[in-house]
């Protein structure tokens, strides 16, 4: 064998091994699952594809936990992991599914709304692939994903993403962003099919309220807030004022811009009779000028660069040495969601939604969100779902 051929064989072998070593953690992450226990309030678990058959068998087809009350009432659709790198909403809704009981009305809960995004990552930013939440019985491991669906599930990207049906030109990557593809279409891009299925669920089940749980940078003006269109603004304002007065945390209201298309807080209200709300909790991990993107930063939200910027009044939220811990963010989501349901129920008593067993802000901050997760090893196997 001549020298040139030997060199080529060695190079192919070395690059093949390096590629395989790099691929194994990503493969495991993509194929890992998170156990969720359907708690006492879950009456059935359906698939999103029940409302859009073109989603069946794809990465976009997810479980929807249905929590029906003894009394009929209003209906709410709650979703987390629209952006899977903003996990406070996922933790809040998982605590809801595992603990809450609906007394009146019905909740539809989609934990990993962008399932493909929750199996994606952002290697250029050095994202961790998982994070752990301590509980009384051990650690619960969660996948940490990315803002956009994986190109393994939706490819190729267009040069410019043309929103359907408004035809607004958006960034090419927004075709994989489930907060730009609302209201979707049955035979469009995979993420358009995901949002279309959710729209069909809301239209067919006559859902009154939709909540989309997010996180936003401390340097981004639309943070620590409820984003609401005009039709949801009164309820959002009442919820904002009540949590400030009764629970002592800020969560202002931002108007949903009428000319920015594809967002849940815009299109759900425009293409269904549902009142949409999008909740943003500050997440320092997403800010650009931070130290390394570690699990510690994700959990405690403490960063010296942000602290320095806060002293120069460059942030849109208060920020001190305590950072913005995960429990605080999850607690805010929980209390704001409960308050929105309460305010909606006050205005619409015949369509009211009442639930119990879901902790509020102070309880989550005091106990830690891990207290509300149950051990899947001790649960009835029939009640354990893998997301």
């Amino acid at each position: 064998m001549n020298k040139e051929r030997t060199v080529k064989i060695v190079l192919v072998a070395v690059i093949g091994v390096v590629t395989a070593l790099g691929a194994v953690p990503l493969y495991r992450h993509r194929h890992s699952t998170m156990p969720v226990i359907a708690g006492p309030g879950v009456t059935k678990v359906i698939k999103l594809s029940d409302y859009a058959p073109t989603l069946k068998g794809t990465m976009g087809d997810i479980d929807v936990f249905v929590m029906e009350g003894k009394e009929p009432g209003g209906k709410a659709f709650l979703m987390s992991d629209t952006h899977a790198n903003e996990p406070a909403g996922l933790l809040a809704l998982m605590a809801l599914v595992e603990n809450a009981v609906v007394d009146k009305g019905t909740l539809y809960v989609a934990l990993t709304f962008n399932a493909s995004g929750s199996r994606n990552t952002k290697p250029g930013d050095g994202y961790p692939l998982y994070f752990d939440i301590p509980t009384e019985w051990g650690q619960v491991r969660f996948r940490f994903g990315n803002r956009d669906a994986s190109p393994l599930d939706q490819w190729p990207d267009p040069d410019v993403y043309i929103h359907y049906p408004e035809r607004q030109a958006l960034s090419y990557v927004d075709g994989r962003n489930t907060n730009r593809t609302w209201p979707g279409r049955p035979n469009g891009l995979l993420m358009e099919r995901v949002t279309f299925a959710a729209m069909e669920l809301m239209r067919k089940e006559k859902v009154d309220v939709a909540m989309d749980f997010h996180g936003a940078e401390t340097m981004f003006p639309v943070t620590n807030c409820i984003v609401a269109p005009q039709k949801s603004a009164k309820i959002a304002t009442m919820a904002s004022m009540t949590v400030k007065a009764m629970e002592g945390f800020d969560n202002h209201v931002e108007p949903s811009p009428g000319n920015f298309r594809g967002l849940s807080h815009r299109e759900i209200g425009d293409y269904a009779d549902t009142l949409p709300f999008l909740m943003e909790a500050p997440i320092p991990f997403l800010d650009q000028p931070t130290g390394p993107k570690t699990v510690k930063l994700l959990i405690d939200g403490k960063d010296d660069f942000l602290l320095s910027l806060s002293k120069k009044k460059k942030l849109f939220v208060s920020y001190d040495e305590t950072g913005w811990p995960m429990d605080k963010r999850v607690g805010q989501h929980a209390s704001v969601a409960l308050e929105i349901l309460k305010q909606f129920s006050k205005k619409n008593p015949e369509r009211s939604i009442k639930l119990s067993g879901f902790p509020r802000y102070a309880e989550i901050v005091q106990n830690g969100i891990g207290k509300y997760f149950h051990d899947p090893a001790k649960a009835d196997p029939k009640s354990v779902y893998f997301e």
Partner: protein, 51 residues
């Protein structure tokens, strides 16, 4: 599969073919051989549809 996706797969296959041809015919520069291999990896994975 949409027509545009089929075209993208064909383009990818063409580029893989060109890179493979260049790698095979490169006689001297080890640096270029490594570069061809590095560039070909994601394209090859796409064609093989490895997820």
């Amino acid at each position: 599969m949409p027509v545009i996706t089929i075209f993208y797969y064909l383009i990818t296959a063409f580029i893989v073919g060109m890179l493979g041809w260049n790698f095979w015919h490169e006689k001297k520069s080890v640096n270029d051989m490594i570069l061809y291999l590095l560039v070909i990896v994601p394209l090859l994975l796409r064609i093989l549809r490895v997820k």
